[in-house]
Amino acid sequence: MFKLLKYLKHYTAESILGPLFKLLEATLELLVPLAVAAIVDQGITGEDQSAIWKYGALLGIFSLVGLIFSVTAQFFAARAAVGFTARVRAVLFRHIQRFTYEQADQAGASTLITRMTSDMNQVQTAVNLTLRLLLRSPFVVLGAMVMAFTIDWKAAMIFLLAIPTLSVVIFGIMLACIPLYKKVQAALDLVLGKTRENLSGVRVIRAFCKEEEEIAAFDRRNDVLTAAQKFVGRISALMNPLTFLLINLCIILLIHVGSVRVESGILSQGEVVALYNYMSQILVELVKMAGLIISITKGVACGNRVQAVLELPAGRPAQQGMEHPDAEGSAVAFRGVSFRYAGAQEDALSDISLTLMPGETLGVIGGTGAGKTTLVNLIPRFYDVSKGSVLFGGKDVRSLPEDALRSRIGIVPQKAVLFQGTIRENLCWGREDATEEELMAALKAAQAEDVIRQNPQGLDAPVRQNGRNFSGGQRQRLTIARALVRRPELLILDDSASALDYATDAALRQAIRSLPWRPATVLVSQRAASIAHADHILVLDDGAAAGYGTHASLLQSCPVYREIYESQFEKEGAAE
């Protein structure tokens, strides 16, 4: 939590002025018992009516000035707290965005979302309350003690005893609660995860009639959350009763000491009243603070979770890669590349080498789970190779800055994801400043013109979350267009035409071949027909290259390729 506080420094003035005005207000409050004591001693005991009026009026003035001070304090506190949280959220979002695929896989989206939302809300509340009250309460408590000393140091020794004891109780409970609140938030993560799952998998859940089971699973997590909340609630609820009890015991002690001192003529009755008032003020303040401390404890627990995310390393710096002079002039080259996923037993790719010149097409084909997607993910450096090197434009991808590298690649992922907004906005992901003609040209090449034409709003047709108002095929074609808008040097199509019918698929390939800027293309596909015309074909089998060559040579030399080809063609031909 405390490392987060550096983001408060943009609100230094507010963070100082807020508590300062609170302190000023509290000072006024501390003067109140003195004024009352004066009323009692000078006014009533001394039978001086004008003194009563004078000090009564003073109390009124204190109230008014106190109001002004506290409104000012609230303003600064709110500004600092809200500004602080907004800033941390922005930092957090940027940080999470820099996570590599591997880091994001490990962290998990659900908990990242709770941390950005629920946790940050608690932090905001805590910071706001802290600025408003946390300084104020100890100040009032200590101030009350100091004032007590001005009245009678011997009786005031009781304050010196009371305050450390109370601190031990309060901080003890606080320390006990922080890990408990952390547990609550962790339970909340699970509830959120289940909720997300139910939303994303609604069709399957309903198709399998799993509603009841899902409800039961949710209930289990919900019960864990409720139990955790109740438990920490019970512990933190000790704070108020304990402080109440302690203070009252101190009051007894105080009046006892006071009575002895009055008997010996050292103290007056009015002074005992003042001492008692100070002790009551401490009680009132601590009761107020108890509620606050619960919020702060929660805030600290949540802040720790946020900080933990910020402390996760994000992104990778560009580093020195190996030189490969033989790859000079190539668009993409693999040199003895092996890759293993974190925690996996076997290599997902082993010893892959290939060279693709600008304007050429590489077809990648192979069985399910053969490593096709893994292979293409290495080019934009979504993952780092375990062995060997991947070269882009003749340079090791690890030696290139990530954004520079990725801006030259247009990738169409297997899962066709669109974002909430309009079609135009989605296409402009490829390039911010693309013109209307460029967008239309990309749509045309991606065989997606009809999607626009069917829609009365054209390019400005709304896209819902995940593009769910479009069919799978429409989504795929739009994601292809999105990549084309970029005019990349390298175009990667990761089995992105699977939902397209053959005619559309064929037209799409034709259009890509005749793109004016002649990008190098990596085409991952299940369909032999889609890659048969590629300049190079890589046949993957269980992560290893089962063959690398052209269609004609592979048909001769590669049994795996022949099998794939025949499974799709020969028998079709026989049927005709």
Partner: protein, 581 residues
């Protein structure tokens, strides 16, 4: 959809009803603890009256008074803790109930609602809003009751000390409530706005963090951050407004209370001067005046907190109470069907202004294999949405075994279908749990057999923990094709009378597909199957091929017949194998 505050209140109260016993107990306890904490100042006042001046201190009375104070303080503290524990219990149970309600509601929301609302927004309601609601409710509980009881009790006590000054206090205090109300009324809207923007932000976070890979592939981090900042900035403004204006309540009411305190001190002292009050009495009265006004202060604080809680509650109840709910139009269960399916004059579209399926007729005999082909966007997936009753037809009817599917329960209808979609969905859990989703009591042997039939056994075996490897929808450990094989294994395990395969093998390589063809063929035998596919190898063996275009069936027949017709199908077919393309 916009409910007013009273409506929200009523909804909250309805949910509290279950805990009436506990709430009553809590109120009783708060009454007792308030009496206890008010009694102590009386005793302290008496104790002070025992120590008038040097030589005039009554030590004997002091001793008994001290003992009384100690006992009452101890008892009050203990009861206070019990009361707090009860309040905690009630609040967290209630919000737990609300979440339970929300998940149940979620299962009943029509897909049209879910398709139209971003999931992030729904998540924000179920998680963040419920959370904030709990905070507000708890504060309300702990402070409202004891506040009200304190006010009543101090009022009585003050009356016993001096009715005249009490009257002054009573007349003035409503001022603080008025000011609190005035502010609260204005802050509710601000809190509502804050809650809404928060929902928007959660939706954005959900979308962007959930699809981080695409975001990074396109190097959109910077522009996303800018977009995030825009929402964040709006949230900051809304939040600042809500926070600052709501926090005005406290200083304002405290100001009024301080004025009252000054008034009491003044009039009390004047009365004491004329002998109407002892110094101990004045001390005690001042302490009461403080105790009396404090709850007003707290209640006003609670009122603003409650504004936030209510604004959040409104968001939740908009989901749990106001969102449309699927109602069963028939309560009979559909028994395991023979698989005769007929569509009569079916019309449907997602949006009234866009026609999709119009007057579609189709009759399928039991056990037939129906392939649906056609250009993308022609309505193939929609047809499946209708068969599964994810959506209901706009007009016309669909019947299974001669019974209108709207006359039977959705669950019994869906149990008759096995469905594999192109969009694979993996549940968080082990591989085995994922396969057994349709048959939770399946033995490990059955699961392995199904996986083998789907040719998924090979890759599952190679996973770090085999069938016990944990998966989630987000984890990238499985390829799209492997995910599809898992989904096929799910259906292989259950084998319902009818099958729907919507691009079920689109990401599976053809060799594997060939291998599972036999299993597919065995699975489809005797089962009515609807297959959406682009691969002609999958389609060729169908009994009937439906060629769809623009929501209409334009051609119908088997592969050979359709080729002979030389129509749209034959065009599609030849385009695949024409090497000049």
């Amino acid at each position: 959809m916009n409910r007013n505050k009273n409506g929200v209140w009523r909804s909250v109260l309805r949910r509290l009803k279950k805990y009436t016993g506990w709430i009553v107990l809590s109120i009783l306890l708060s009454a007792v603890t308030v009496v206890g904490s008010l009694w102590i100042p009386i005793l302290v006042g008496r104790a002070i009256d025992c120590i008038i001046a040097a030589g005039r201190v009554d030590f004997a009375s002091l001793k008994t008074l001290f003992l009384q104070i100690a006992i009452i303080a101890g008892a009050t503290a203990a009861l206070q803790w019990v009361m707090n524990a009860i309040n905690n219990k009630v609040v967290y149970q209630v919000v737990g109930d609300v979440r339970r309600e929300a998940i149940r509601k979620l299962q009943k929301l029509p897909l049209s609602y879910l398709d139209a609302h971003s999931s992030g927004d729904t998540i924000s309601r179920i998680i963040t809003d419920v959370d904030q609601f709990a905070d507000g409710l708890l504060l309300g509980f702990t402070q409202l009751f004891s506040g009200v009881v304190t006010i009543l009790a101090t009022l009585i006590l003050m009356l016993t000390i001096h009715p005249g000054i009490t009257l002054l206090v009573v007349v003035l205090t409503p001022l603080s409530l008025l000011s609190a109300r005035f502010i609260a009324g204005r802050t509710y809207r601000m809190f509502h706005r804050q809650s809404k923007i928060r929902g928007e932000q959660t939706a954005f976070i959900d979308e962007m963090i959930g699809n981080q890979k695409v975001v990074q592939a396109f190097g959109r981090e910077k522009s996303n951050a800018a977009q995030f900042d825009a929402i964040n900035e709006r949230l900051k403004k809304a939040s600042l407004n809500a926070t600052f204006f709501s926090s005005l309540t406290n200083p304002c009411t405290r100001f009024i209370n301080n004025i009252i305190y000054a008034g009491v001190a003044l009039t009390g002292a004047l009365t004491a001067l004329s002998g109407g009050l002892t110094v101990g009495g004045l001390t005690c009265f001042l302490s009461y005046a403080n105790q009396y006004t404090k709850p007003f202060n707290e209640i006003s604080g609670v009122i603003t907190e409650l504004q936030n809680a209510l604004a959040c509650a409104a968001q939740i109840f908009a989901l749990t109470d106001d969102a449309p709910e699927l109602t069963e139009t028939g309560d009979q269960a559909l028994p395991p069907a023979t698989g005769r399916v007929s569509l009569e004059q079916v019309s449907f579209s997602y949006r009234p202004d866009q026609k999709l399926i119009e007057n579609l007729n189709l009759s399928v005999a039991p056990g037939r294999r129906i392939a649906i082909v056609g250009p993308t966007g022609c309505g193939k997936t929609t047809l499946i949405n209708l068969l599964m009753r994810f959506y209901d037809v706009r007009s016309g009817s669909i019947a299974v075994d001669g019974r209108d599917i709207r006359s039977v329960t959705r669950q019994s209808l869906r149990r008759n279908f096995g469905m594999v979609l192109q969009d694979t969905w993996i549940k968080a859990g082990t591989v085995a749990e994922n396969i057994a989703i349709g048959k939770p009591d399946a033995s490990r042997e059955e699961i392995i057999a199904a996986a083998k039939a789907a040719h998924a056994h090979g890759f599952i075996k190679r996973l770090p923990q085999g069938y016990d490897t944990l998966l989630s929808d987000e984890s990238g450990s499985l390829s799209q094709g492997q995910r599809q094989l898992l989904c096929i294994a799910r259906v292989m395990l259950r084998l319902p009378p009818m099958l729907i395969l919507d691009e079920a093998t689109s990401s599976i390589d053809t060799r594997t597909e060939l291998k599972i063809q036999d299993a597919f063929a065995a699975m489809m035998k005797g089962r009515t199957s609807f297959i959406v596919a682009h691969r002609l190898s999958t389609i060729r063996n169908a009994d009937v091929i439906l060629v769809m275009k623009d929501g209409q069936i334009i051609e119908q027949g088997n592969h050979a017949q359709l080729l002979q017709q030389n129509g749209f199908y034959s065009q599609l077919y030849h385009s695949q194998f024409n090497p000049t393309v």
